[in-house]
């Protein structure tokens, strides 16, 4: 291998990182300008973009937990992307501060009257939740999420780095030891964070499966991204040798399983709420069934379940890198639709506005706005740039892991 060939990949990654960060920076500048200009949709676009990026980062953290617990050969290939992705949690949590400082622009429960009392103080339902949904407590929770997530990502990153240097099994054992508790902490904090950042956009509404729904989306995001990224990397060594057909098939099966799991969770919630048809619960679906959003709902059902399910059910599509990457790219686009579907109808529905005593500032905007797209591109690029920044710091494969050779070379995956 010549020097030019050896340098090619690192240089390419560096170029991509610079490009992504510049693009993200430009997007952020547009967002800031729109904020100064008082464009109401700034917050919606920002939240959609930010939560999409958070999905990749937290999906990375969850994949690390699963990989360290399950020993699967597929996990060694995804380990570095997952570690780098999880490391972006620190900057992402910092980037959430603009929302934290203007909660009342997005979350109806955060709006206070001239006396500093929540406008929901007299609402029989929401007033009883104000012990939880209030400015001070959400700040405390925000810091807890940040500390726990960033701490978890850093610990995995540090242990994995030490293992790269020493090859000592003790580091692997440490990662394994923390993976179980971390997975628990992840799902508990993610559930609460989903309530805080997404569910409370409609403060009357609740659903106990919501955390799992968001987590399944995170797995879809990171697995789709992982597949696309690994396939791209497999043009060069060392991924070229390590990313065998079996491994590709394994990750493809995992992606397929999570497509079904996501649909299962969605159907569970839908049947239970549709069947009961209670006014405080069905509003969430009514909002997503209002003119305009009903087509988004159909697109989501078809594109995040029906089409990829039918497409990936065949063994041959999962074993053909072109078709699999096509499905993964398609799903990455649909992740944006999913985020939009989760967030926008809660903010922008006239009927929703009527339900609330005071319309929020964000609700004055239109349903679909250019800033939604700018938010997605901005946070997508920023996340990708930050991801590459961390990804470039380590060898692409954890070759010093004592299980690596077994896991990657074995013909029979063990998980």
């Amino acid at each position: 291998m010549t020097t030019t060939e050896t340098d090619f990949l690192p240089n390419k990654l560096k170029q991509m990182q610079s490009f992504a960060l510049i693009m993200g920076g430009a997007g952020l500048a547009i967002m800031i300008l729109s904020w100064f200009a008082g464009v109401a949709n700034f917050y919606q676009g920002y939240l959609i973009g930010w939560f999409l990026a958070l999905g990749f980062a937290l999906g990375g953290l969850l994949i690390l937990c699963i990989h360290n617990l399950a020993h699967g050969g597929w996990g060694f290939l995804l380990r570095r992307p997952a570690e780098a992705s999880a490391m972006t949690l620190l900057p992402l949590m910092v980037l959430f501060l603009p929302i934290m400082f203007s909660l009342d622009a997005l979350y109806p429960w955060a709006i206070r009257d001239a006396n500093g009392v929540s406008v929901y103080a007299t609402d029989p339902i929401v007033s009883s939740k104000l012990h939880y949904l209030n400015h001070s407590f959400i700040w405390i929770r925000y810091f807890i999420y940040a500390i726990v997530w960033v701490g978890g990502a850093r610990l995995f990153w540090t242990y994995s780095g030490k293992q790269d240097e020493t090859g000592d099994i003790v580091w692997r054992q440490k990662m394994r030891f923390m993976a179980g508790p971390m997975a628990l902490i992840y799902i508990l904090t993610l559930t609460l964070a989903s309530v805080d950042f997404l569910m409370s956009l409609e403060p009357q509404w609740f659903s106990s499966i919501y955390g799992v729904m968001v987590a399944s989306g995170h797995m879809l995001s990171m697995l789709s991204f992982g597949l696309v990224f690994l396939t791209w990397l497999s043009k060069w060594e060392p991924v070229k040798t390590a990313f065998t057909l079996e491994r590709q098939h394994d990750i493809g099966k995992l992606l397929f399983a999570f497509i079904i799991f996501w649909a299962y969770i969605q159907v569970s919630q839908f049947i239970i709420y549709w069947h009961a048809n209670l006014p405080e619960e069905i509003t969430w679906y009514m909002n997503r069934w209002s003119p305009g959003f009903n087509s988004v709902s159909w697109i989501l059902v078809l594109s995040q379940f029906v089409v990829p399910f039918l497409f990936l059910i065949s063994r041959s599509t999962k074993r053909n890198s072109k078709t699999l990457v096509f499905a993964a790219c398609f799903l990455l686009v649909i992740r944006v639709v999913d985020m939009y579907w989760m967030i926008a109808p809660s903010i922008n529905i006239p009927e929703t506005r009527d339900l609330y005593p005071v319309a929020t500032k964000a609700m004055t905007g239109s349903a679909i706005h250019l800033l939604d797209l700018v938010g997605v591109v901005t946070f997508g690029s920023l996340w990708f740039g930050m991801f590459l920044y961390y990804f470039r710091q380590r060898p692409i494969l954890p070759v010093n892991d004592p299980y690596f050779s077994l896991g990657v070379q074995s013909k029979e995956p063990n998980a």
Partner: protein, 465 residues
């Protein structure tokens, strides 16, 4: 011997060692083929208790049919009592088998081979026990076919929007596919038994059941395809059956029932209970029949991990029930939470937390996971806990409903208990008869595992050169 056995980087032993193709077949087949007088006392004792309790079940059913369901402790508002609790408990137990045989098979988890046959059999027996409750609760069991939609002169159709009807489809499909899956997996072993049986009648029966299996390449090829297809068919059933059982509750308006986390949380609970029951039988059986080399501590370790994992999902479900009960802001939901924690049946809730959340946390320890006695004790806690979970869900929600003038207390009568304990007798009887009549570990799969290990070693050896 142990110095020759290859360990993995964590120092774990392989799932099977010290056996060759002949010895493994002899060992498993011997349990079935040995003369009756050589069966261990444990087997006689187990069967005796089973048959004894089975008589109780027969009597309870007789009493129920001649007098009616009023002999149960049902009242208004608690119209669903022990029958639904026990139905859900048994159906849950019946989930381990399919999970082990189908999902772990698709995940290529080799360790499942030692336990799959036994777990599948337990699935079937548990479904039989579960099915008895709705069958008898309809009041006139001889008209139970009315549950199925069929063109009839009465012009009556079941309510298709009711999850109770979905249950009829889900459970009957589950039972059918599980029987097919179990029997398909048995065919090669039945042929082995046919070859080894010395008793004429045993030989004839095995001969008939093995469907002319010759072990030819064509037979194996078709067998592999059939098994893979059945595994694929069974996999969604693991999720669907208990999800639909959970919808029996969740689609209603009852606080404590109507919550969206129910489907995945019920499925996890089913796996939790199922594994606990499989271990409850596996642990004594491996000891009495000297199967510790086929059902190793590593198997215990893995099963305990699955149990811990599913138990944690269940614990997450409990937390979500409490949190969203409060977060809903609904007075009825909040009352339900308080009624669970502090109401007249509060002890059942706290016992449930002890059994299903606190005690299983001991499974985080490797030492506990590989200690059969400790695991056995924890499994008993889990079995009790899972029954209490259904009690808490069914009774605590129903006994204090929306209208406080209709509140009432509920307690199972002796006939409720007789039915419940009686189904345990049915289960025990079927399990002990199964141990005696069919190979309870899949012989050919164990042989395959040995072959694969040897083959893999050769391959590895070749690579080194």
């Amino acid at each position: 011997m142990s110095s020759e056995v290859k360990r993995d980087p964590d120092g774990q032993l392989p799932y099977i060692s010290g056996h060759d193709l002949e010895s493994v077949s002899n060992k498993i087949a011997a349990v079935t083929l040995r003369p009756m007088r050589e069966m261990p006392k444990f087997w006689y004792a187990g069967l005796f208790i089973g048959v004894l309790l089975l008589q109780l079940l027969f009597y309870a059913i007789y009493k129920l049919i001649v007098t009616g369901t009023y002999i149960w402790g049902l009242n208004i508002p608690v119209g669903w009592g022990f029958a639904i609790i026990n139905f859900v408990w048994w159906i849950g137990i019946g989930h381990a088998g399919t999970l082990i045989s189908a999902i772990l098979f698709l995940f290529k988890q080799d360790w499942r081979t030692s336990i799959s046959r036994f777990a599948e059999a337990m699935t079937l027996f548990a479904v039989v026990c579960a099915g008895l409750f709705p069958l008898l609760h309809v009041g006139r069991p001889w008209l139970v076919y009315w549950l199925f939609p069929y063109p009839n002169t009465m012009g009556m159709w079941p309510q298709f929007r009711s999850p109770l009807l979905w249950d009829v489809f889900a459970v009957s499909t589950y039972a059918t596919v599980s029987i097919l899956f179990w029997f398909t997996g048995l065919v090669p072993d039945l042929a082995t038994m046919r070859a080894r049986a010395t008793d004429v009648w045993a030989k004839k029966i095995y001969h008939g059941m093995s469907l002319g299996w010759t072990g030819s390449a064509r037979h194996w090829h078709r067998y592999e395809i059939a098994y893979l297809l059945l595994a694929g068919l069974s996999t969604p059933l693991v999720l669907s059956v208990h999800s639909i059982v959970s919808l029996d509750f969740a689609v209603s308006l009852e606080p404590g029932w109507h919550t969206t986390i129910f489907p995945p949380y019920f499925v996890a609970g089913a796996i939790f209970a199922g594994f606990a029951m499989v271990l409850t039988f596996m642990i004594p059986v491996r000891h009495i029949f000297g199967m510790k080399d086929l059902l190793t501590e590593r198997h215990l370790n893995n099963m305990c991990k699955v149990m811990l994992f599913s138990g944690l999902i269940v614990a997450y479900g409990y937390m979500m029930e409490l949190f969203f009960g409060w977060y809903s802001g609904s007075v009825f939901e909040r009352f339900m939470v308080l009624n669970r924690l502090l109401g007249p049946y509060d002890y059942t809730y706290w016992l449930l937390i002890l059994c299903n959340v606190l005690v299983p946390q001991a499974l985080w320890s490797y030492k506990v996971r590989t200690n059969p006695i400790a695991v056995f004790i924890i499994c008993q806690f889990i079995s009790v806990g899972m029954w209490l979970e259904r009690f808490v869900i069914v009774i605590i929600s129903l006994h204090r409903d929306f209208l406080d003038s209709s509140w009432a207390m509920y307690a199972g009568t002796r006939w409720d208990w007789a039915m419940y304990v009686g189904t345990m007798g049915l289960f025990l009887t079927l399990v002990f008869l199964f141990i005696r009549t069919l190979p309870f570990i899949a012989i050919f799969e164990m042989r395959e595992l040995i072959h694969k290990d040897e083959h893999h070693d050769d391959e590895h050896h070749d690579d080194e050169h």
